[in-house]
């Protein structure tokens, strides 16, 4: 994961967009959580709640092993997809650390899904998550 793929760049850009300029740590945490929530909303109908939870758990594990520096943070995040818990861990970090954490987690989750169902279908399923970042409605909910 040394070189960023187009998708990773898109994720990073989308996150940056949701965070906005001069954000405080709470905004950063909220932005990460909202993207995860959108991904969850896009994937749960298709692969089920348990499927999404398993992907999330695996992503956390991969992040911790690839970025030992952040291992402590990952370990303190509960493995269930509990966004409130995630946010409470994130607000303890510096803005930069939290943002880095978010970027790594989201790209890892994306790439994990890519290894399973391929790039085109992954892009297809998650298109709605990134599209709002191009328009000016940052926290658009995916209607079911």
């Amino acid at each position: 994961m040394s070189t960023l793929s187009d998708e990773s760049r898109q994720i990073v850009a989308s996150l940056a967009h949701r965070v906005g300029p001069n954000a405080d740590i709470a905004t950063v945490a909220q932005a990460i959580a909202s993207i995860l929530q959108d991904m969850d909303a896009a994937l749960t109908p298709i692969i089920g709640q348990q499927g999404v939870a398993a992907l999330y758990r695996r992503s956390l594990h991969l992040c911790a092993s690839n970025h030992p520096r952040l291992a402590g943070t990952y370990d303190s995040v509960q493995a269930s997809l509990d966004l409130t818990a995630l946010k409470s861990v994130l607000v303890e970090q510096s803005e930069a650390d939290a943002l880095f954490f978010g970027e790594v987690l989201l790209t890892t989750l994306y790439e994990l899904l890519t290894t399973l169902i391929g790039p085109s279908l992954t892009a297809r399923l998650l298109r709605g998550v990134w599209e709002p970042s191009l328009s000016d409605t940052p926290s658009q909910e995916n209607s079911p």
Binding site: P45, I46, I47, G48, Q50, L116, I117, R124, L125, R127
Partner: protein, 486 residues
């Protein structure tokens, strides 16, 4: 004007399936795709779904318990028909695992209905339906409300104008299962394993209001998806024999004479003889003669390695496209698959001459499960080919047995319209070859046993051996009363 309801038939997009179904899939029907694990149920469902779903006529695919959706998406993507762009557009996957785990069929039904109401799909799939049933049985009430559930589901889907497929693992078709009763269509998939060979078979056990093709139909699963080999449609009215009979030249003038002027068009000809007697050479000559007259041909080779030992004439004809080669290396062939390969090649080239070289190799190429019915299969193939209007030359390896006069090892001689037999004889310490025309249906033909030899120019027919007798016994003796020669 008729005021009866017209049932639209949907083209399934699965090659051969519409024929087997009797003209496509009835719209708004409620169907079950059943069979043991690994027989291709989910693949069949996906192939039909991707073919039929459009943004105006979307499909809903409910995944229940069983194959995790992630894996299903992973594997189904390998097929050519899978189009990622269709997902969330014309095709929507909906996971019902949590609802099913609760074991409450009413809740499952409610979820299905609410999704159907939300999306108004034209197509609904439930995979696997079996797990819905099993989940409901783990409940305290073993006497679950399954019949009621199925009945309601069937009724609701039909009134919502959705063509529905339940996909389920079932092992015995004799179970009394409420689904079997309610369903309009029952598509049963099987894998038949015999020794080391596996053949996939499909049976339409039921399809209301449709003249389905009965029996088991073989199919294959390739990257393009499922392909069903429907039996060749037979022309019920065969064109009557025209007089005078139009005849094809064989490429060996003396042989044409022996046949009474050539092989009548549309006939099937069996060339039977021992190994090395020149059957394949005669077959190649037959095709070359056609090519010389501007006709095209098709050859099905089951015996020799096509690029290796073919004679130069034939290789040239194949190279130039005047002869199509059917050389299926697929293991476990079925007769319908071969016939389909031949017929598609025939129609592609508008061929008039077909060679099958040889029946013995053909039998070996068939999956063991079909060998028992070899004669029957052969008869179907000959009928299918000749009713397509082509003339067929088949070679048959014939062990030389001098104690009986047989023309094919299969008792298939009656299937063909004409027979040429070749034999070895021993004369003066030489192995000579003789040939005779045994039969040409509805035509006069020669009764001569003629010597022939094979040289660089092919097959050369020579004289009779009037001073020898007992040729068919393989060891002729000089006639006592014949001309003296010593």
């Amino acid at each position: 004007m008729s005021t009866k309801v017209t049932i639209n038939r949907l083209a399934t997009g699965v090659p051969g399936l519409d024929e087997v179904l009797g003209g496509g899939l009835p719209e708004f029907s409620f169907n079950l795709i059943a069979g043991p694990p690994g027989c291709g149920k989910t693949t069949l469902a996906h192939q039909m779904m991707f073919a039929l779903a459009t943004p105006e006529r979307p499909a809903l695919f409910f995944t229940v318990l069983g194959e995790p959706p992630l894996k299903m998406l992973r594997y189904q993507q390998q097929f050519d028909f899978f189009d990622s762009e269709a997902i969330n557009q014309s095709i929507r996957y909906i996971n019902l695992a949590d609802d099913t785990l609760a074991g409450n069929l009413d809740e499952v039904l409610r979820r299905i209905v609410s999704e159907v109401e939300a999306h108004s799909p034209s197509l609904v799939f439930v995979d696997s339906f079996r797990s819905v049933v099993l989940a409901s049985q783990t409940q305290d009430n073993p006497n679950n409300n399954l019949p009621q559930f199925v009945q309601q589901l069937g009724m609701l889907m039909t009134t919502w104008q959705a063509t529905t497929f339940l996909i389920g693992e079932y092992f015995t078709e004799t179970d009394t299962n409420p689904i079997f009763t309610v369903a309009d269509g029952l598509i049963w998939l099987r894998q038949s394993v015999q020794r080391n060979s596996m053949v996939r078979k499909m049976e339409i056990m039921k399809m209301r209001g449709q003249p389905t093709l009965p029996g088991l139909h073989t199919f294959r699963i390739a990257t393009s998806g499922i392909k069903v080999f429907a039996p060749a449609a037979l022309n019920p009215v065969e064109a009557p024999l025209e007089f005078p009979i139009k005849r094809l030249k064989m490429g060996v003038p003396q042989l044409d004479e022996m046949l009474g002027g050539g092989l009548p068009r549309g006939y099937s000809l069996l060339v039977a003889g021992p190994s090395g007697s020149g059957k394949s050479i005669l077959a190649a000559t037959f095709l070359a003669e056609g090519a010389r007259n501007g006709e095209t041909g098709v050859i099905a080779v089951f015996e020799q390695r096509p690029n290796h030992s073919q004679n130069a004439t034939l290789a040239g004809l194949i190279q130039s496209g005047q002869v199509g080669l059917v050389d299926s290396r697929a293991p476990d062939l079925s007769i319908d698959e071969i016939v389909q390969l031949l017929l598609s090649e025939i129609s592609r080239l508008k061929a008039t001459r077909v060679v099958i070289d040889s029946l013995s190799g053909f039998e070996l190429a068939l999956a063991p499960t079909f060998r028992e019915d070899f004669r029957e299969s052969l008869s179907r193939m000959v009928t299918a080919l000749t009713s397509a209007g082509v003339s067929v030359l088949m070679t048959s390896e014939l062990e030389d047995r001098y104690t009986d006069l047989r023309f094919s090892p299969y008792g298939t001689a009656f299937l063909t319209d004409a027979i040429i037999v070749q034999r070895y004889i021993e004369v003066q310490s030489r192995l000579l070859r003789i040939m005779a025309v045994v039969k040409v249906r509805a035509s006069a033909h020669s009764d001569e046993l003629r010597l022939y030899r094979i040289d660089d120019n092919g097959l050369q027919i020579g004289e009779m051996l009037p001073d020898q007798e007992g040729l068919l016994g393989g060891r002729p003796t000089r006639q006592r009363l014949g001309k003296d020669d010593g």
